[in-house]
């Protein structure tokens, strides 16, 4: 592993992300307009991890975020699109990275998020009523970043997440849905944000998660599925949150990543890799598979 050209590799990624904004007529760019806000979040986070945040056009990005806030308080993926919790969280995360939360009307964001909580504690993604534990995560993460968790019924939000817990210790989209590594990340992450991790059966869930590691060293997102870098992120971060990361073989994970993506240097790279490969791997909060 020591011989791999890590510097060159990172440079390529840096240049790729830095150049991305200038390819506005590219097929890929146009077709991903509907998730632009999240794309920017992934891009600047990856750049930040590589200590290259300065290469991004901060002023332009902040202006873009401001432009995307709607009267209802919610934020959309880009201009003309409808607001949604997914992009509201991405926007708040971007502004936190730039320490520029005063760009948007945070009170309105809080109202928007609050208005999406249902009587059973769940969250819908927007006014059209799709319920999903991903949106519970978005809501809790967003309000935590704004220091406004008290605006919602946290207890009920937790109760709903716990209603999605399954026989394998994992969590699904809604009560009754099968466990899935991405969904587990959202639920475990949400519980961690509100200090309720003890509700997770860490040993049972940790076992299911560490069994996602396949003989190749890579990880899958559900039993009997193929490995994928994107799932590796959900599994590894969930294991980290519940304190069981040592239950998988880190060396094998890294060497797989290196094989597939010319990779090096420590576990933090996992995060970078996933973020960097977000486009090619289709890592989107609204499409795991």
């Amino acid at each position: 592993m020591a011989n791999l050209p890590s510097v060159l590799f990172l440079e390529k990624h840096i240049n790729y992300i830095a150049a991305y904004e200038n390819k506005k007529d590219d097929y890929e760019y146009v077709m991903t307009e509907y998730l632009r806000m999240s794309g920017i979040y992934w891009g600047i986070t990856a750049m930040d991890l590589m200590h290259q945040l300065d290469m991004m056009d901060k002023v332009q990005i902040i202006a873009f975020v401001k432009q995307c806030q709607h009267k209802c308080g919610g934020i959309s993926s880009s201009e003309n699109h409808d607001p949604h919790l997914l992009y509201t969280l991405s926007a708040v995360q971007i502004l936190c990275t730039y320490d520029a939360l005063d760009t948007i009307d945070a009170d309105l964001v809080v109202d928007y998020v609050k208005g999406l909580q249902q009587p059973d504690g769940s969250f819908v993604g927007d006014k059209w009523g799709e319920v999903d534990t991903r949106f519970s995560f978005c809501a809790l993460a967003c309000l935590a970043l704004l220091h406004r968790l008290e605006a919602i019924d946290v207890n009920k939000a937790v109760q709903h997440i716990l209603a999605c817990r399954n026989f394998d210790g994992g969590f699904g989209t809604r009560p009754g849905s099968e466990s899935h590594a991405g969904q587990i990340y959202c639920c475990v992450g949400a519980l961690a944000i509100v200090g309720r991790l003890h509700e997770v059966d860490a040993d049972l869930l940790g076992w299911w998660l560490c069994e996602r590691q396949l003989p190749s060293g890579g990880l899958n997102g559900r039993p009997e599925k193929l490995p994928d870098v994107c799932y590796s992120w959900w599994v590894l971060s969930s294991l980290t949150i519940i304190g069981r990361l040592h239950w998988i073989d880190k060396v094998q994970v890294l060497s797989t990543f290196l094989q597939t993506s010319h990779w090096s240097k420590g576990m933090m790279c996992t995060y970078k890799l996933v973020l960097l490969s977000s486009r090619s791997q289709g890592m989107q909060m609204n499409r795991y598979e």
Partner: protein, 568 residues
């Protein structure tokens, strides 16, 4: 030459593709522009449906387009006749089915389908269930389709029994179907609930499931699905909140209470109070012994001086009240008597750390299972699933008698399945603690857990009243769970792999701590000890820091209460 020709073709193809894409982009952008124009003008008409359909057919993830379609359909629902609305919904469902054939895993398509069905005047649920059948035939693991199926089942009142039969069919076609096994775990407790209200499955049915799942893992011993299900079958119901132990001491004047699960006192309608000789102690300030969390199982309260006499007998009662409202208010209490002239007393409930008592029928079934798994182990040597299940069955049948065998199987597992070696080692550590606690219900003051191969500390809440604990010669890397040792005066952690003392801070009675031969190298590593007020004797021999004079000096400065610091 062949190579060159190929390159040229590729370049040509690339150019063709580039042009195609450029054309696509142009069309897509023009379409999108037109849609936004219409939407902003409030045009909710057939043309809107037509243009968005063209765009969505190839790009089903553009949620704003689905939103616009819903706005149009909602307008129809609000203004048109029932038959017109029904016709529009049927057309919509046909369109969605064509989208699903192209992309059966689109969140947007499935959600829009459920939304349309909810708004349709006469939804055809039978046809919808058939659609689910069809898509689950294409891909039996498509969780979107499973979720949609559950939505249809709920809306149309399909019985849990019928769905259980559906999983029978699915599983008999293909045992390797985690989604179906999972669905059974949801359905069985509904169709055949246990009579004890535990939320588990009635025993007779549970034993039948063991047979079913055994067929599955004999058919394909390397498929995870059946093994995960099997472990669930072996599981227990959830623990109910109750008082588990009360401990009182005169010096320090303190009450400690352990509960059966973590709570946040003063929140979620959970409160804890104590009374001395029938007189309630006002305004108890409980402290959570678990660090870094608002929730905990172990709570302590420094009783004001004068509440207990220096020598007299007292009856102390702890009362726990919980419940979401007044109707559901639950009160539980636990008392202990502090005899005259004694410094402390405790009262603990009997907790089962291993398996609860089993019926003869269940014991017989599990014994058969164990035999079968051993046969499988002979047929398929080193099959990790069979090995782990042997371990779990032994735990269920005879955890104490089979401890040595169990640990042997776990070390074999670490070799067979090295990726998860740390998992098996931690699991072994958990079993060892369960057995120790099971055997010593009324724990003695001194507990020796030396040289047990422990890699993790479990159940330390149950060591809360222990005064001397020996954990030497294990493989511990983390002692954060030691925060529960609220009565420990002497703690031995020699010959472990500790790099930090996090968890050893704020131990109120700790006097003597031995940390020989660990990996402590900096002042920060021992800094938490500065919050142990009674710490007098600290043994740091054999640690990297012991040979560094500068570090040693800062350790002395950081821990002024330590009178005897051993370094060499």
């Amino acid at each position: 030459m062949h190579g060159r020709l190929k390159v040229r073709t590729t370049a040509e193809q690339q150019e063709i593709k580039r042009k195609e894409r450029a054309e696509k982009v142009k069309k897509f952008q023009a379409g999108l522009h037109r849609v936004f124009q219409k939407r902003d003008a409030g045009e909710l008409d057939a043309e809107a449906l037509q243009i968005t359909a063209q765009l969505l057919a190839g790009n089903p993830d553009v949620s704003t387009l689905w939103n616009y379609r819903r706005a149009v359909l909602q307008h129809y629902i609000d203004t048109k006749s029932e038959d017109e609305v029904q016709a529009a919904c049927v057309e919509e469902l046909d369109f969605l089915e064509s989208c699903l054939r192209v992309n059966p895993k689109s969140y947007g398509v499935w959600h829009h389908r459920a939304w349309t069905l909810s708004g349709a005047p006469r939804p055809d649920w039978t046809r919808e269930l058939q659609l689910c059948d069809k898509f689950l035939e294409y891909d039996e693991r498509n969780f979107h389709c499973w979720d949609h199926r559950r939505f249809v089942v709920k809306c149309s009142g399909v019985s849990a029994e019928a769905e259980l039969e559906f999983t029978d069919t699915k599983i008999s076609t293909n045992f390797s179907n985690y989604s179906s096994w999972y669905y059974r775990s949801k359905l069985l407790p509904i169709v055949h609930p246990a009579t004890d209200g535990s939320g588990r499955v009635a025993e007779a049915e549970l034993l039948k499931e063991f047979q079913l799942v055994q067929n599955a893992f004999f058919t394909d011993p390397n498929d995870q699905s059946a093994w995960f299900y099997h472990r669930w079958l072996l599981g227990k119901g959830e623990q109910r909140l109750a008082l588990d132990c009360i401990h009182i001491s005169r010096d320090p004047c303190r009450a400690s209470v352990r509960l059966t699960k973590p709570v946040k006192l003063g929140h979620d309608h959970v409160s804890l109070s104590i009374s001395v000789d029938g007189k309630p102690v006002e305004d108890c300030r409980w402290k959570n012994a678990t660090r870094g969390s608002d929730y905990g199982m172990l709570w302590t309260y420094d009783v004001p001086r004068g509440t207990l006499t220096e020598r007299g007998e007292h009856v102390i009662t702890a009362e726990l009240s919980s419940g979401d409202n007044d109707d559901d208010d639950k009160r539980l209490s636990l008392s202990c008597t502090l005899p005259a002239d004694r410094g402390e007393c405790k009262m603990a409930m009997r907790t089962s750390f291993c398996r609860s008592r089993m019926t003869a029928a269940k014991t017989e079934t599990l014994t058969d299972e164990l035999e079968s798994c051993k046969q499988l182990d002979e047929l398929e040597p080193n099959n990790k699933w069979a090995l782990l299940t042997i371990v779990l069955l032994m735990r269920a049948l005879d955890p104490l008698g089979r401890e040595a065998e169990t640990l042997d199987y776990l070390s074999q597992l670490s070799e067979v399945d090295p990726y998860r070696g740390n998992y098996y080692r931690d699991l072994g550590s958990k079993f060892i603690m369960e057995n120790v606690l099971e055997q010593q219900q009324h724990l003695e003051d001194k507990v020796a857990l030396k040289d047990k191969g422990l890699t993790a500390l479990y159940y330390t809440e149950y060591l809360a009243t222990v005064s001397e604990l020996n954990l030497a010669s294990n493989k511990l890397t983390n002692v954060s769970q030691c925060c529960h040792l609220q009565c420990v005066t002497k703690l031995i952690l020699d010959d472990n792999e500790l790099e930090s003392c996090v968890g050893l801070g704020q131990l109120p009675l700790l006097v003597e701590l031995s940390l020989q031969n660990n990996k402590l190298s900096t002042v920060d590593a021992v800094a938490p000890l500065s919050t142990c007020p009674r710490l007098e004797r600290l043994d740091l021999r054999g640690n990297p820091m012991a040979s560094d004079c500068a570090v040693v000096e800062s350790v002395r400065a950081a821990l002024p209460q330590v009178r005897e610091l051993l370094l060499v």
